[in-house]
Symmetry: C2
Subunit: 343 residues, 2 copies
DNA sequence: ATATATTTTTGACGCGCGTAAACAAATGAA
DNA sequence: TTCATTTGTTTACGCGCGTCAAAAATATAT
């Protein structure tokens, strides 16, 4: 490789023996130039390893090749994992994804959207905070920037929503638990941040009604995104004060369940299907750690692949369509029940 | 707020009744203009909510206000957490951090560094993959871009290294375990990706030597970043084949320990300090989930705050100094022993 | 070989802002 | 008031690239 540094596209074009506009065209879409010239450019590219200045590119392009990915809480491995898959797909499609985490804070989510707006991205994949979101702010943003919501829906906001079908999650766990033992109570935060939590509660109530069973909601206190600790503290209280209406517990999500298991262990309560167990516990999400809990967690799994794939594909369609879809699409993917040791 | 959209700094300057260069100066450093003019600018800013075009800014600035943060594996809550803290510090200091995850892949780490190079960041905080890194590539990068390494050191690369003192971790756990029961064997991957793992092994051997105890290394197979599964599989094998030389196990890191606990539960082996427990287990890192395992994990904790703070402060010093430090600094922070249920 | 379609070149302008120099105005102390 | 100092204005240029129109070169079909 030659050592001389190339300052700009003009110099590189001169070294190629090709005009600058053609080089520019190549970088916008390598297939838009004749194969023979493409070959010459790529040969020179190997030789001199030139890269166009992104800032100059993005300043003049009407639309950048950037894609924003926003998740509510990156320290949650669930989001870390889904972000990883989405990131990869964007890169493979020739885009430049940038990852942001709202860290559970409304102010930060707003800041991120403002920053994102000035990045003029081709599109954005946004998993909003949910109830903690500044709804108007998100709405305004989505009006200006082609955005797909995922994981957590805000009615009417964004060009499309891609997520999981909460009823599918809960119906499977409730059905399984009821069929194989006693019916579950539903363990959740009294004031959940995520709208999925509300959908899951409704699904639980609906399923119990269909099965002609009496529903029991066990609501625990706590705010923020430290779900494990909230679940642990709530479970300790409920268990100590003997407030559990059934011996079968269905947690709204896995992170609460992880806390619940911790509390059980602390109190010497055995969880699982075995004879010496007094509690059965199941949950939702198939959190990356749920297979390593003690006992491993019976849960309903997101179809990670399907959600990420479809979210990304919808975004690409949206971008191709110029930022507008005829109608707002909502796509929900079914859950898959994963039976493990806890129930 | 007025509705007319402002296209550029010229228009905004006209609306302020102030010249464009002064506006430009303000955005580079609000304190560089007289308080009275600053007030007028900020008043107009509220009125018209103008934001300068980042691309045009960065194209012309000799140095951008961007800071790159690179971690080896974002789905590991340990890195997610440390990235969160660092991100916040950068924002508060007026920089624009961008987060990247190498996802455990050498190729991706190289790509990220290339991308980062063309972003012309003011500085980079890099936690390299470690042994899986393309050392030459990282070295080349660090020569061109002001970079602080953290978490995982590469000798002589980057302007400084900030991390934890592995000897401090291991000495405390080994001392504690030996004093309160039998001496531990050391449970680790036979081919660990992270250089910290090697330092920890050496520290274990050294501590055992000092205490006049016989060391035992238990090495398990596995590659990649799925440490929990590797730890679980390894522990299953070791436990089933009765290869454990002692009843006290010290894991190289918490994620392996989480897998180990999972295996123990599967085999009906009780872990902890109680009379009916047959194994004591301790580890290192104070992983965010280690307090929720069953039993909760006795571990040596990173001083997250100190590491992130010092890494960021060193980077700011580096940036102020124009990208070069007189000598390469290495700062290590001591661990704090956290006694929980597992040992 | 000729006509037609495709690709490339040339030349030029614009994007929005950084920055420098020379000058004007405001400030503050003597 | 006067002079020195800070702060702001004016003017002008440059950054690296997108993009357009017209002309030239090349490829494909007849």
């Amino acid at each position: 490789m030659s050592q001389e540094k190339i300052r700009n596209m003009d110099e590189f074009a001169a070294l190629c023996g090709i005009s600058r506009p053609t080089i520019s065209k190549y970088f916008n879409d390598p297939n838009s130039v004749r194969p023979s010239t493409r070959g010459r450019i790529e040969a020179a590219l190997k030789e001199y390893d030139y890269r166009p200045n992104i800032y100059a590119m993005n300043q003049n392009r009407r639309l950048t090749k950037n894609i924003g990915i926003v998740v509510p809480y990156l320290a949650d491995p669930f989001f870390a994992e889904i972000a990883r898959v989405i990131e990869r797909r964007c890169i493979d499609a020739g885009f430049t994804p940038t990852l942001f985490s709202s860290h559970g804070e409304q102010g930060l989510e707003c800041d991120i959207l403002d920053t994102l707006r000035s990045l003029r991205p081709a599109g954005v994949l946004l998993a909003p905070l949910g109830r903690a979101s500044d709804k108007k702010h998100v709405e305004d943003f989505c009006r200006d920037v082609p955005t797909i919501l995922f994981d957590s829906n805000i009615e009417g906001v964004g060009a499309a929503f891609v997520g999981s079908d909460n009823f599918s999650f809960v119906s499977q766990t409730v059905e399984y638990l009821s069929r194989t033992g006693s019916a579950p109570c539903f363990f959740e935060m009294s004031d959940p941040a995520n709208p999925n939590a509300n959908k899951r509660r409704h699904a639980y109530l609906e399923m119990m009604r269909r099965l002609n069973l009496e529903p029991h909601l066990v609501k625990i206190d706590g705010t923020g995104w430290g779900f494990e600790e909230i679940g642990r503290a709530g479970a300790l209280k409920v268990l100590k004060e003997d407030l559990l209406p059934t011996d079968t517990v269905l947690c709204s999500n896995d992170r609460l369940a992880i806390g619940f298991l911790s509390a059980c262990h602390e109190l010497g309560i055995r969880v699982g299907r075995d004879k010496d167990c007094t509690i059965r516990l199941a949950s939702h999400d198939d959190h990356p750690y749920s297979r390593f809990t003690c006992p491993s967690l019976t849960t309903a799994a997101h179809d990670y692949e399907a959600v990420s794939d479809h979210a990304v594909e919808t975004l690409f369609r949206l971008i191709d369509a110029g930022g507008k879809l005829e109608t707002r699409e909502e796509t929900l993917f079914a859950a898959r029940l994963i039976m493990r040791g806890s129930a």
